[in-house]
Amino acid sequence: MVFSVNTNLSKVEMILEMRHISKSFNGLKVLEDVSFSLQLGTITSLFGENGSGKTTLFHIISGFIKANSGEVLFKGVNLNGNSSVEIARLGVGRVWQTPRICKNLSVLDNLVLASKSHPGESAINYFIRPRLIWQEEKKRKAIAAGISEDIGLAGKLQKTAGSLSFGQQKLLSTGMLLMNDCELLLMDEPFAGVNALMIDHISEVMLGLKKQGKTICMIEHNRTKAKAISDITLTLVKGVIEHKEKLSA
């Protein structure tokens, strides 16, 4: 089943296009001919029962598993055949249901670690341009401090990431994607396991990101809260997109 969200938009404005994606595990069909596209700077919610294939879809977009057939186009570039690391470098970020952060590092170190193409990541740069490493380190720490304000963790930069609450860890992993300069954020149940206040805070952060031109696609079971900030909702039923709804967020 094919859904092109906002069909009146040109292809250039579509940051992600999924074309006829199918995936099965040991003969069990998880996704069947799924097609949809995401418009730049929008929030899309993906609904569906457990086992309907939502997370598998995210795994395929972010390159952790390969589809049996179909194409994933990110800004017109076919992602098929790219590794998860390469896809992340292209600008597709992922916030996992359980936050994936470095729990023994400080919040600041987590944010700087996630930053894109830091010269200090390559051992050779310590021999050929050591000064650049420290200049960049300083710059990125300043950017990280700015992002920590955006996500509401400004006062916790020196705290160990593992000491943050579950909701704060989710915010931190979102902040890490921003440091990584991700254009598309795939968020797996951002409201799960956090209190109502934190849900509101996460919603505000997501709306702020949308304003900055980021595209968000989230899997969420809390439909009311998700719909409140979404432009589009898609519902997956047994691996097939059964329903789409355009909202006026």
């Binding site: 998860s84 690391v85 994936r100 470095c102 590092l105 200090g120 051992a123 490493i133």
Partner: protein
Amino acid sequence: MNYLLHIIIICEIYLILALAMNLLGGYSGLLSLTQAAFYGIGAYITALLLTKVGVSFPLALSVAVFFNLIACIPVIWFSIRLRDLFFALSTLAWQIVVFSLLYNWISVTNGPFGISGIPKPEMFGFRFGSLGEFALLGGVITGITLIFFIGLHRTPLSRLFQGVRDDQLAMMTFGKKPSYYKALAILISSGVSAVAGALFATYFSYIDPTSFTLNESILIISMVLIGGLGSVKGSVAGALFYVLLPEALRFVNIPDAVAANLRMMIYALILILLVMYRPHGFFGKYKFE
């Protein structure tokens, strides 16, 4: 005085090994059982170059480090994709391979008979022949190693090594390749272990494969665990603890017939208590799990 100098030299050698192991096991969370193999290769290459080729000590040391960087490629190749226990098992395999080579490649290593007559180091026309002179050389090399690791752990690279330890999936999510940082940690660690091997070979003037067994690898890991994972200070404390404690127990008035066994029992008991009540080791950043 000679006894004290001997202890200082042994401390220096183990300190270098503990620092190298701490990068792997402590910062990067890679439990390597092959550290003694790297140490042994460094010692053998130095010994062979000094006794058979007659090169200078600095050149032998440099070649030993370089050779170790190449020798660790098989470890990188077969262990880099593995995690946790599987990584440890793959390094165990390499430890066994290297030990078997040292033991059985008699034409090169002289097998179980080892290599004797290894000359004392000579640099810039000065021979570090006496215990005091050797301790000084060892001190300088250990100091340089210490400064290298303190510096390394202040770089952004160290953060990435710790990222490998904490969450490899997170690293991939942010476009970092955990395998690159694992390979780098193994390379640095093996190169530094070769330095300890070179010191060991020239200090004792004799080496044989029994100095580079799995037990030695476990001893080095224990130093890092007891001192504390992910801490340079911890590695120093762990190395000193392991070298000095058995020596200190020599001065406890124990009957000769049971001295050795009782000493080992006291030693083991202290270790068990430490693991039970100080899971972070003396100064560790991470808990022993």
